[in-house]
Symmetry: C2
Subunit: 494 residues, 2 copies
């Protein structure tokens, strides 16, 4: 025993110049020596008095170190017989520093499906032609900042606690009041469920409303984020074909759905508006199959000429429609606040579900969005953005006509923040995207939105975030990409 | 045809005093008339010129209304033959206004499991004795507010976009740097995944690391939020028995686990610290079964005497431990920022997974927490809270000794924000909670943390959020509850 004591003491020292308190140094050193087996289990440790003397430290310093070791079970005190190293398994090998493949278990099958789900690729381009990106320059940051600061100073319990899973009561009320006017939906505040953005809404809805192996009708082509959420929830996806002219709701090959995903206000990626007869037919189909309709209104606020098209959820007897909206595109994406409108009788269930999935948006941000809306800033900003985007679209269409008509046709669209460009001659859109990336452009190929059908090729060009000068630069860069492609693969004559 | 026209015209009128633009009024009226079937499908509508005359409005007003109806598919234009109501299905019954049971489909089986999961009941008490609630009075709101305001004004792309799914790069770096010192974990910024709180972290981990019907060892008694997350992911829960003395890791009746959930720094609800030999044994068990360990460090920062106990994740070869931390208890709960430390090789998978589940915390809040830490406010606040909670605990224990020792024994604890109270005589904790609610108290029964074993009865008393006066008031209210109970059910002598 005496040998052990001497052994352990020799290895111990304290560094008086270190920032680390001495008791912590002693604790760390003993812990390491015990874990490595250099002080064997069952060894008798020196008394605190004798160790303190050997190290020339105060006795309380050693006591603090021993207390910590004792609390963590490294050492044991036996009445009258001193302090012993606990009988622990020692000598665990340290982890190799630079191993390539760790020894941690793999993801689960479900984890693999979630991780392998499709995601819009972000290209490394400097010029952001990416669809769905709003202008942020014009956002009234200083108003926003002071409203936020006021809420951040508030000691109001309603902003500090754990409660209000479904959202800030004021914001839920405001959304319910406003959505009647803006989207033709009549609902109560209880039906509004605020979450961390539209993606969280899709994920939550898929988990709560469908089971593994349920059939989900997914727009084809359609939004990849939704597709991923349904796959993550174990859905069997059935392609609901969409063209520029509408939804193929009469497709007899589709299995009975549990859930139907649509973007009726502005179809992604085509921008088509769902006609009233299709809406009524869709509601009938859902009714017949006892299915849910998920209405993703990702772009519904942006219509330039007429008014926004009323939401599908706003039609009579549309209680089986769950509506998803977001402030990401009307304010700033990083806010990450989206919301669901759910049937009254499911409001309690969603509140419970969100308390478990944790997809809740922070209350001070919600309260601030509420202030922003109530004080009129939101309406002003939206109106301004609508005018701005309409102007930018017109400018963009003109420039495409002028510089790009040899390769693409861009049809004006009455809504949205991006336009669909069709090729004037057979081209693979992935080739075009690759060439565009070389010119510093981040553009999206239409074909990535297809999953089972033969894809239509084309580009989805987001013009909303660029000013006129940037649009020109982007158009010219795209032109350069096309010219480069032509040189590589001269198109067949005629 | 002429009759139809007259019919529709008679029903149409505009209200010049209304806030609603006239084209919108005409659009709404025609839309409603068509949907209800009062203007039958295939009717010929009056020309815009003639309707404008009849209504005494400008022709452009009618054109705007017709354009909107046309865009939504209510009407069709046939070249040379005017404007016709589209062949849509009409006369859908309006939804009954006050039906009790709607016609929407039920939740899915999974949705039912999620919604039926256990959740800590919140009692209606005014005096918040609820465990896990931090003091917010002392939080430096004005510093926090100005840091947040600065970030909210920033047009920095890194705060505005959709990217950085796994978190703000600065905050991830800061957490990685600090967690080495505070919790003995060495990791890179890539391994840090920021989410909307610990509950979201539990949910995410359960979905990505386990499959439906996998065995999960769950502490018994244990934290209900974790239990709910695992159930929501389809787990089969196996009870890992815990007592005040430790974890029963040698229980042969436990099935091979895929995932093991533990709170080693401060067991919920007992407050026990997991001894080093148990830690090593646990790592071995996980290794042997190829299982994951989920370390929920919900309270690890609060240890009053010694230093915080190092995390299990900090031991050598603990790559199969996924660590969950949160700022909810060290800052303010409503922040809803938590984080995971995942193995290096899974960092990419988690980034992908979170982009689909949408459990991301807003970037400006993350950036602000980062500033708060980097500028030293976090350390100061934590130190202050540690001292404050230690003082409050001592005060609380004294008052319990003075006023409550007839009914409960409260053992001082070296960590946490709540204390376990044992009954001195047989009582049902649910009865005590019910009596306490009547006295305006929100307290938690220990038994709710049990799910399969015969529960121990007692109370979990959160004292952290109360000042000394409030603690006294709470203790006296609890005393009143006990006295009331004694009167109702005089305890058996002896």
């Amino acid at each position: 025993v005496a040998d052990h004591n001497r052994l352990s003491l020799d290895m111990l020292s304290v560094d008086r110049a270190s920032d680390e308190p001495m008791h912590r140094q002693i604790y760390n050193a003993l812990r390491r020596l015990i874990l490595d087996g250099r002080i064997p289990a069952q060894s008798l440790l020196p008394s605190t008095r004798s160790l303190a003397e050997d190290l020339s430290v105060g006795r309380n310093t050693v006591i603090a170190a021993y207390d910590q070791l004792f609390a963590e079970g490294f050492i044991e005190a036996h009445a009258g017989s001193g302090t012993w190293v606990a009988p622990i398994q020692q000598g665990r090998p340290a982890a190799p520093k630079h191993r390539k493949h760790g020894r941690c278990p793999p993801l689960s099958r479900r984890g693999r499906i979630i991780v392998d789900g499709p995601q819009p690729p972000r290209n490394a381009g400097v010029i952001n032609f990416h669809p769905g990106v709003p202008e942020t320059e014009s956002f009234p940051f200083s108003v926003w900042s002071s409203l936020l600061a006021r809420n951040a100073r508030s000691r109001d319990d309603s902003l500090l606690g754990y409660l209000s899973f479904s959202g800030h009561p004021g914001l839920r009320r405001t959304i319910a009041e406003n959505i009647s006017l803006s989207r033709g939906i009549s609902c109560t505040a209880r039906q509004v469920v605020v979450v961390t953005g539209a993606q969280a809404a899709l994920d939550l809805v898929a988990r709560v409303l469908m089971d593994e192996n349920d059939n989900v009708w997914m727009e084809e082509p359609g939004y990849r984020g939704a597709r991923s959420a349904f796959l993550a929830a174990g859905a069997r996806l059935a392609p609901l074909r969409v063209s520029r002219h509408g939804w193929n709701l009469s497709d007899r090959s589709l299995p009975p759905p549990r859930l139907i995903y649509v973007t009726p206000s502005c179809q992604w990626p085509f921008g088509t508006i769902m006609r009233i007869e299709e809406r009524l037919q869709l509601l009938d189909i859902a009714e017949r199959h006892g299915a849910w309709i998920i209405e993703d209104d990702y772009d519904g606020e942006y219509r330039f000429r007429g008014r926004p098209v009323p939401a599908l959820r706003g039609l009579d007897n549309a209680d089986r429609v769950v509506y998803i909206g977001s402030f990401g595109k009307t304010l700033i994406p990083a806010l990450r606040i989206g919301y669901l409108i759910v049937p009254e009788e499911l409001a309690g269930s969603f509140d419970k579900a969100i308390s478990i999935t944790g997809q809740f948006a922070p209350l001070i941000l919600q309260a601030t969005v509420n202030d922003f809306i109530k004080q009129g800033y939101f309406a002003t900003h939206l109106k301004r953005m609508r005018r701005l985007y309409a102007r930018r679209q017109a400018h963009f269409v003109d420039l495409c006509e002028k510089h790009l008509k040899e390769w693409i046709t861009v049809a004006e669209n009455d809504s949205g923040m991006q336009l669909l460009a069709s090729f004037t001659k057979p081209m693979k859109d992935r080739d075009v995207v690759a060439a565009a990336v070389k010119e510093g452009l981040d553009v999206q190929a239409i074909s990535i939105n297809y999953h089972s059908a033969e894809p239509e090729n084309g580009l989805l060009l987001g013009y909303a975030a660029m000013d006129e000068r940037q649009i020109l630069r982007a158009v010219l860069a795209l032109r350069a990409a096309f010219i480069g492609l032509d040189r590589k693969q001269p198109s067949a004559p005629g």
